[in-house]
């Protein structure tokens, strides 16, 4: 260590001397008041070359390459995987690091973890040479896959509307040989023409899949995705804009812990063939909006489900059995807004058909603001499930004070309430400070109107019991900046 320090001091001295020599040279030629000639170029070039050499030697003993490989790899992993900064693509960043020097290249190529995430686009231009695309896939993607050395990989296939994308997709699926490559996470952006290819692959390979995301297009019309999984290890299933997913083997979902369904629903194949599918389409609006329709036959076969996210209204099929999701802890409901009262009157109430005995976290959000009456209706529909809930988030769903109070009184274990995305009136603020809500110890007001912020300040300054309670519970306020002039954040 001491030798290293002595060497470092020696090189630094050398650099200082070279800097002085360069300044002297410049002074000498500038004071001569004549254009810089070849002699200056030669002498300056020599000093600059010596300087570069000295800096290189200095960096060799003090710089990044003196760090232990595990630290250098930690830094590299952050460069490769951190998702901010432009442009984000792990492989572009990996290539940049790999081309720095031999040592870095060896680290990049030899670290299997760097070769476990692939984001592959299908051809987007109809005039592309598909033969060339397939050949490049065969060379580049195959080679990169071998570097994963058997670690589980995550694969995303990006969408394309080109007719022959199936050829490229088939090539990708062919390269991923089940015996060599373990795909743990798969996300596929589907077009109607790809449905059968993907469905077939899911039924035949991917035996160790844990995370599956199927993303359809937001085009109007009906989809019907026949889902048959070879895997029994699936833990997370996400579906966007797929309308109907018809499940052939519900038992393959027995280990699923998270279901996220946006504009999609999941039906057991037998039931779909019977009457549920017909009922869904007969209701008319399904194709436009994509509600989640409860199929008890499927939900009953998800004993490990812990997180359920549903977008749009959840409705129960008439004559559906009552289902208990015994392990569910988180329920998230996202509404796209614009519902009228009549929507909730159709079909049996979803939350009377499905029971969540261990539910702890409930998130109810609307993408657009909801009318007060609709918000009240949504809030009332939650009564059967809030008894053991400890955390509730209501965003852009602002009910009237009486309806909110009724909900909160039923949520006897509630500890935290996050409400916002609109205007919180003084009456609503008083409900949040109600002394009867004994367990409630944290209230967050997120994304509220500026006027609501002023009401809050006023409430907190009043010597009332509600004011004192609210002052004790109130934790955070974020006023939306774009809604009412300048915003502010406080805690």
């Amino acid at each position: 260590m001491d030798d290293k320090h002595a060497l470092r001091s020696q090189i630094k001295k050398e650099i200082e001397l070279l800097d002085v020599a360069q300044r002297r040279l410049e002074y000498k030629y500038q004071s001569a008041s004549k254009p810089l000639d070849a002699r200056y170029q030669r002498e300056s070039g020599y000093i600059q070359a010596s300087l570069k050499d000295a800096w290189t030697r200095l960096h060799a003993i003090t710089g990044i390459n003196t760090l232990p490989d595990e630290l250098l790899l930690d830094i590299m992993q952050r460069v490769v995987w951190q998702s901010h900064g432009a442009p984000y693509n792990p492989h572009i960043r990996l290539r940049q690091l790999q081309c720095v020097c031999k040592h870095w290249m060896a680290l990049c190529l030899g670290t299997a973890a760097f070769w476990t995430k692939f984001d592959l686009p299908l051809p987007t231009n109809g005039s592309s040479n598909i033969g060339l695309h397939v050949a490049r896939l065969d060379n580049g993607f195959s080679k990169a896959l071998t570097r994963s050395k058997g670690l589980p990989i995550s694969l995303t296939v990006r969408p394309s509307n080109v007719d022959y994308n199936q050829t490229a997709l088939r090539k990708i699926l062919e390269i991923i040989r089940p015996s060599d490559v373990q795909v743990q996470s798969l996300k596929v952006n589907l077009t109607p023409i790809m449905v059968m290819t993907v469905a077939f692959a899911l039924a035949q390979q991917f035996s160790r899949l844990e995370d599956l995301a199927l993303v359809g297009e937001t085009l109007p019309g009906s989809w019907r995705f026949p889902l048959a999984l070879r895997t029994t290890t699936l833990k997370r299933l996400r579906a966007n804009n797929l309308r109907l997913i018809v499940l052939d083997l519900p038992s393959s979902l027995s280990r699923v812990e998270a279901l996220h369904f946006d504009n999609s629903t999941l039906l057991e194949g037998r039931r779909a063939a019977e009457d549920v599918e017909a009922w869904i389409y007969a209701s008319g609006r399904y194709q436009d909006r994509g509600d989640f329709v409860l199929d008890a036959a499927v939900l009953q076969k998800l004993p490990n489900l812990r997180s359920l996210r549903i977008r749009n209204q959840a409705i129960a099929f008439p004559h559906s059995d009552v289902v208990s999701l015994a392990e569910l802890r988180e329920l998230s409901l996202v509404f796209t807004g614009g519902y009228g009262r009549q929507v909730f009157a159709e079909g049996p109430p979803f939350f009377q058909q499905v029971q969540f005995p261990k539910l702890k976290s409930l998130r109810v959000q609307s993408e657009q603001g909801t009318r007060s009456g609709t918000a009240d209706q949504i809030i009332d529909s939650l009564h059967p499930i809030v008894a053991g809930v400890t955390s509730i988030l209501l965003h852009r769903i602002i009910p009237s004070p009486e309806h909110l109070k009724m909900l909160l009184l039923r949520a006897t274990d509630l500890k935290e309430l996050d409400i916002g995305g609109g205007e919180i009136s003084a009456e609503l603020m008083r409900v949040l400070g109600d002394p009867m809500l004994k367990h409630l110890h944290t209230v967050k007001l997120t994304d509220i109107e500026k006027r609501s912020g002023a009401i809050l300040e006023q409430m907190l300054s009043q010597p009332t019991e509600e004011g004192r309670q609210l002052s004790r519970r109130w934790h955070m306020r974020v006023v939306h900046s774009s809604r009412k002039g300048a915003g502010s954040t406080g805690t």
């Binding site: 260590m1 800096w55 290189t56 200095l58 960096h59 060799a60 003090t62 710089g63 990044i64 390459n65 003196t66 760090l67 232990p68 630290l71 930690d74 830094i75 590299m76 992993q77 952050r78 460069v79 490769v80 995987w81 951190q82 998702s83 901010h84 900064g85 432009a86 693509n89 492989h91 572009i92 960043r93 290539r95 940049q96 690091l97 790999q98 081309c99 720095v100 020097c101 031999k102 870095w104 290249m105 592959l120 686009p121 051809p123 987007t124 231009n125 592309s128 695309h133 490049r136 896939l137 060379n139 580049g140 993607f141 080679k143």
Partner: protein
């Protein structure tokens, strides 16, 4: 209780115990656990603990971090997308040489939270730079053979095309 830390140049820094506890080798030294490893030597309480590989300027910078985290836990583990507090990012800055010195010292002194922050700081500075830019910044020589350069060009060409297909 206070502990005196002595930098490489012999400058003395009197720090409180909670601050000193953030520094692994000092903690071990003060409690005697890793005394035998020779990371730091305290022959006598009045002499303090000598940190022979840390300069005064870096030690004073490190003590700013330790002071900030004397009453709270810093981040010591997390994935690549973990967000660090604003104070941390302002503290570590963008001066590559300075961050490297901090990283070396954090490694030597056994301060996991600061080590993680320094790695994050370096990653942020490297992010978005091309290989030549990284070499210039870090004084690394591109030492590839001609054959390796040809192979890299071929594979780079593939990925360039593949990531931006036409």
């Amino acid at each position: 209780m206070s502990i005196t830390l002595i930098s490489k140049e012999g400058a003395q820094f009197l720090v409180s115990k909670p601050v000193a506890d953030r520094i692994g080798v000092v903690r071990d030294c003060a409690y005697g656990a890793d005394f035998w490893l020779g990371y730091a030597v305290a022959t006598d309480d009045s002499m303090g603990i000598t940190l022979a590989n840390v300069t005064s300027s870096i030690l004073s910078k490190i003590l700013v971090w330790c002071e900030h985290y004397k009453d709270m836990e810093p981040l010591v583990d997390g994935d690549s997308n973990m967000e660090f507090p604003e104070w941390d990012m302002a503290y570590i800055g963008h001066d590559m040489n300075q961050i490297l010195f901090v990283l070396e010292a954090a490694d030597y002194l056994h301060i996991p939270g600061l080590l993680l922050l320094a790695c994050k700081g370096i990653a942020d500075v490297l992010d978005g730079r091309n290989p030549r830019g990284i070499c210039d910044l870090l004084g690394i020589v591109m030492d590839f053979s001609h054959r390796q350069e040809v192979d890299m060009d071929k594979e780079n060409g593939y990925w360039r095309w593949f990531l931006h297909p036409t």
